[in-house]
Amino acid sequence: MNNDIPRTQYAALNGSVVVDSILRLSPVSLLSNPVMFITELMFFIVAAMAIYPQGFAPAASVGERAYYVEIASILLITVWFSTLSDALAEQQAKNTAGSLRKLKTKVISKKVLREAFSSTVVPTSSDELSKGDLVLLEDGDVVPIDSEVLEGIAMVDESLLTGESAPVRKAPGDVLIGGSRIVSDTLTVRISVNPEEGYINQMIRMVESSKRPKTPNEQAVTIVLIGLTGIFTIIILALLGLSVTLGLGADLSVLIALYVCLLPTTIGALLPAIGLSGISRLYQRKIVAKSGRAVETAGDADVVLLDKTGTITVGNRAAIEFIPFEGYSERQVGEAAFLSSWYDDTPEGRSIIALSYNKGFVPKNLNSLPLSEVFEFSAVTRTSGVKIGRAQEFMLPKGRSRGRMRRKFSSDSVASDDDQSPDLEIIKGAPDSIKRALISPPQDFDAVVDAVAAAGETPMAISQNGEALGVIRLKDVLKPGIKEKIQGIKTMGIRPVMITGDQPLTAKSIAGEVGIDEYVPRAKPEDKFAIVQKEQAQSRVVAMIGDGTNDAPALAVADVGLAMNSGTEAAKEAANMVDLESNPAKIIDVVLLGKQLLMTRGAVTTFSIANDVAKYFAIMPVIFSATVPQLEALNILHLGLHSAVLSALIFNALVIPMLIPLAMRGVRFRPSGTMSLFLRNAFVYGIGGIVVPFIGIKLIDILLSAI
């Protein structure tokens, strides 16, 4: 996986994890893990052999007691490694969820009781609130439970939850997350969930492995493991039967050692941890999945619907060029743009200032700006502008009402020869609005405007005292790294589809820039539903993001629906994942995480099965060594008679903790085609799975014989 995904923080291996892992050794709690249950059963048998070998004659002998103790200990450690990985993964998931839970402490809230003509405020503990209750939140209060704003506008600090440090403005209809804090003003909110239904509670429930239902893929892998266990059980019982009937004299403990070595203990031990870690990795990205299944489905996505704004572009445009009309210079356009944008505090306006400044188009009459009259952007005229008067005005400190108060003052900083010049009125805005206000538009007006639009960019016309000067070329700003991400999912065989309300030309240009072949221009939110249905009709798995109420139906039918936390309650209800940071580009991370989860599960399964080849070569020569010494020829590793079995068993046990990091952080991968991922992993974990144990067992054997 790429480095852009933060590293997993491993849960510290603290005392409570160890205690938890030991408690999990109880056979009852192992019942859900058949492989480990059988391994523990085998431990009990070998332990019984150590205690009372006479009872197992002729398959056990008193002289081998110490050996039985060794084998039994390794078996128990094998099971313990398994429960340890479970406990660790659960602890890690709880830690992540817990960091979000911290804000979920009990608070005393002001519950509002409304009567016919008055309302009273009653202090109430947050856990006594229920869905539908009204709560008054004032400056400094903590939002008790997820709720919806009814009245008032306030700034809210959500940093604990989303990591975003700037307070967010919340107005009626917006959603508040339990745990966030009001930093200004007052709100009246309605509790939208019962205390036990909040996302965080939902998250915490999901990470308690005992309560977590197996996903369909986990179920299928479990069936494979049970099948393999069945096969190896038949094999060992047959070997035992043959040993007795043919008088081959195999020791039961060695047969059990072979049995446990063959059992897919590695994947059996790590399967729960792999699934759990997948969910934790989502939490670390501040995404709450409502089920483990949703994460896996994300890995299967064939189509990802990407909203242009917020996902591909940062949502703002930036000026990149000044194009003068005939008879004007670029400088004139640039200076006019500078002046008209001085009070335009939008990102677009700031980008115009920056462009002018960089090009050196700083107007001389800058100093008169503080005295100008500002026409703020109006949705009706779709223009904004500035009027710089001839009359001198007072310089005012920058503030809320900057430039609005006009007070004459005298200054010598403004050149006196300007005194006779008329008022300078500069208007910028949508070309058609500007054009309408012109007395005689320049001949090349339409040509320049259309050329910019044809390139997929946004033209903004600028006029000065009723004469059009030129056009500012505004361009969508791509999110950093989005192009690579889109290229990544494309190489993985996933089709990105861009949804935008833009004109077709603009949409085409943006799509082309990031390498998206399919886009839906002039899309209304309702269109998403139709697109999802169309793709699903062709049996494709669709992933999408959504925030508005209009998105809810599409989120509900999409295979993977990621709702923005800033979105409406309906959208969050319909989606199967919620991004607390409300970053729509994360849909791509979700898809990659889903793939990583499946890949990790497959890799450990393949590795586990491939390991068995070496274990046969280690143990087969030993089983019947007393009666069939010729099988020593299979001992290609030249292992010692006693140490062969122990080496194989120790390797089998040690592989589990060694793979815990892999299980928890997932298989690393670079986005590439399905087939190349498959082949690369098949090589690493298949061939590697065959070779590694040969080396590992031999090394342990050397160590053992040295002792």
């Binding site: 069936i223 039967g241 896996e296 996933i494 399964t605 491939a610 087969m620 069939v628 087939m675």
Partner: protein
């Protein structure tokens, strides 16, 4: 090792089988798709008559349960009829030698053996069976068992085909398999065999005076027709107990080559039929290349030792042709032999085991293809997870139930081989017939049940195993080995009907790369399952220096 000329023969025969399979496949597909053909004029009235007599409606379509139960029912009825003939052949016509009826357990074993396409023979045909038994009980069932295999495979592929609605109609498939594929092929092959010197007569055994004045009985009968269907249908049950080591069944190297070719013909054809019926020709690749790659591994194992002529081998074929035949007959689970297995080098025996344990190299008619798809599904599921998507095969997602079905089908083989092998020793049945507790004896017992489970039919024991224990146990093993995986895999295919197919964005199973992974995972799965037992059998024999098994 083999020399260049021998290697050229191997390549030429395998190449001929693949080429002929490619030629024949479109015709076979046409037979099952009921495409109009030149034979319709003659065969349509005949087939319609058959449908009317048995009361089958050719327009009726079946789901997997109906299809499987129809196949099972037809097979059991045929077993019952054959059992009647064998039990009472003494009182039935066409019995010039006056052979008496068979014992109940040998009858049970024989009818199951022939009907399941196994042809494990615990009898010597020439001294046990009347002409009527040979032609009706044995030869007819060899046709129907091959037809059953063809039908199962075709229905299986129909279920997997995108957009299919049903599994077809068993009765129609069954009749057309016989009338349009097996009979025409066998007719041509039998004529060639007669030309090569194989007898075909109902005139009774001939007694002649030899030069030394002694009297000798020449055992002749309808041999050519039986040889044709036994090889084409991957049955393997010969006219004579010595099977194709007997000169009348396999008189010369030409007939030997022809028989090897015929064994390979239909299993190879079905690999091409798979891709054609699916409408994805490239899906033939993993099935065909995978099968032949595994087959090549078997051949290499068998050809490592120098093929020497041992006692129990035919001088006509010498060591090489005997070893080659042994690999082929197990690779397609035919089970016919042209030498005594006991005289083969342990590595040849090991190779024979591999063929029967894998069962899809390319395997018996129908069964081989179904097993290969089973392996493909397991491989796609386990290894395919590493592509980062929920595993899909032919576009359908592999669900828990599919995994359950394929794992169960895979589990059956070790279960029905290993349990009776242990029982044979535990009950003393093996020692009763003189089988030792050494590697040779163990090899023989293991081989007996492996051959039965794989519906192969070659064996070390022959009529020696005509004891109630071996007759009943191998009978049960053959029955389960045939019908249990067939039912489970038809259930898999049946459940795929109507399932959503994703566009081709997942794992590409029609590539050489996937084929390589498939071959690797089949080897690992099969070796993991049977390695300890092969180690106690042929591998131990090898290490003990029993280069010649008889020694």
């Amino acid at each position: 090792m083999i020399d260049a000329i021998q290697a050229a023969y191997v390549v030429a025969i395998l190449g001929a089988a693949i080429f002929s399979g490619w030629l024949l496949a479109p015709y076979v597909v046409g037979v099952y798709n009921r495409s109009p053909g030149r034979l319709d004029r003659f065969l349509d009235p005949l087939e319609n008559l058959i449908y009317r007599v048995v009361g089958a409606d050719p327009a009726h379509t079946m789901d997997w349960k109906q299809y499987f139960l129809a196949a099972l029912l037809v097979n059991i009825v045929q077993m019952a009829i054959a059992a009647f003939i064998l039990l009472f052949q003494g009182s039935l016509p066409l019995n010039p030698q006056g052979f008496s009826g068979l014992s109940w357990d040998l009858t049970f074993n024989t009818v199951v053996s022939i009907a399941t396409n196994t042809n494990l023979q615990h009898y010597n045909g020439e001294t046990t069976l009347s002409y009527l038994s040979q032609m009706s009980a044995i030869q007819f069932l060899q046709f129907t068992s091959a037809a059953t295999g063809l039908c199962a495979a075709v229905a299986f592929v129909r279920g997997l085909t995108n957009g299919s609605r049903d599994m077809g109609n068993f009765y129609v498939d069954f009749v057309r398999s016989i009338t349009r594929i097996l009979i025409p092929l066998c007719f041509v092959a039998a004529l060639v065999f007669v030309a090569l010197g194989v007898p075909q007569t109902l005139g009774g055994y001939v007694t002649v005076k030899t030069i030394e004045g002694a009297s000798q009985t020449i055992l002749v009968g309808p041999v050519a027709s039986l040889v044709s269907i036994m090889q084409i249908g991957t049955n393997g049950g010969g006219y004579y107990g010595a099977n194709s080591a007997y000169p009348f069944q396999n008189p010369n190297p030409q007939s030997d080559i022809l028989e090897i070719f015929l064994m390979l013909l239909l299993p190879t054809t079905l690999c091409f039929v798979y891709g054609l019926m699916l409408g994805k020709k490239r899906e033939t690749r993993p099935v065909l290349f995978g099968a032949y790659a595994l087959f090549a591994i078997d051949l290499i194992i068998a050809f490592i030792p120098t093929s020497t002529l041992n006692s129990g081998m035919e001088v006509r074929f010498a060591g090489f042709w005997s070893a080659f035949w042994t690999v082929v007959t197990t690779a397609v689970t035919t089970g016919s032999v042209n030498s005594t297995l006991a005289s083969q080098h342990p590595l040849v025996v090991l190779s024979a085991f591999m063929g029967m344990l894998i069962q899809s190299t390319p395997g018996g008619i129908g069964a081989g293809l179904m097993y290969m798809v089973m392996y493909a599904v397991i491989t796609v599921f386990i290894v395919g997870l590493m592509s980062g998507r929920t595993p899909e095969y032919l576009g359908f997602k592999i669900r828990s139930r599919d995994v359950l079905l394929v794992m169960s089908a895979f589990l059956i083989h070790p279960l029905i081989i290993l349990v009776p092998t242990v029982l044979a020793y535990a009950t003393g049945a093996a020692s009763t017939i003189g089988l030792g507790t050494n590697s040779l004896g163990f090899t023989q017992v293991l081989y007996e049940f492996t051959s039965a489970a794989a519906n192969n039919g070659s064996d070390f024991l022959g009529s020696m195993a005509d004891t109630p224990f071996f007759n009943v146990s191998t009978g049960v093993v053959m029955f389960l080995g045939r019908y249990a995986p067939m039912g489970l895999l038809l259930a898999l295919s049946g459940s795929v009907i109507g399932r959503k197919r994703s566009p081709e964005s997942g794992l590409k199973t029609d590539t050489i790369a996937f084929t390589a992974v498939l071959v690797g995972s089949i080897m690992i799965l099969v070796v993991l399952t049977f390695f300890p037992f092969l180690a106690l059998g042929p591998i131990l024999s090898y290490f003990q220096g029993n280069v010649n098994g008889l020694g």
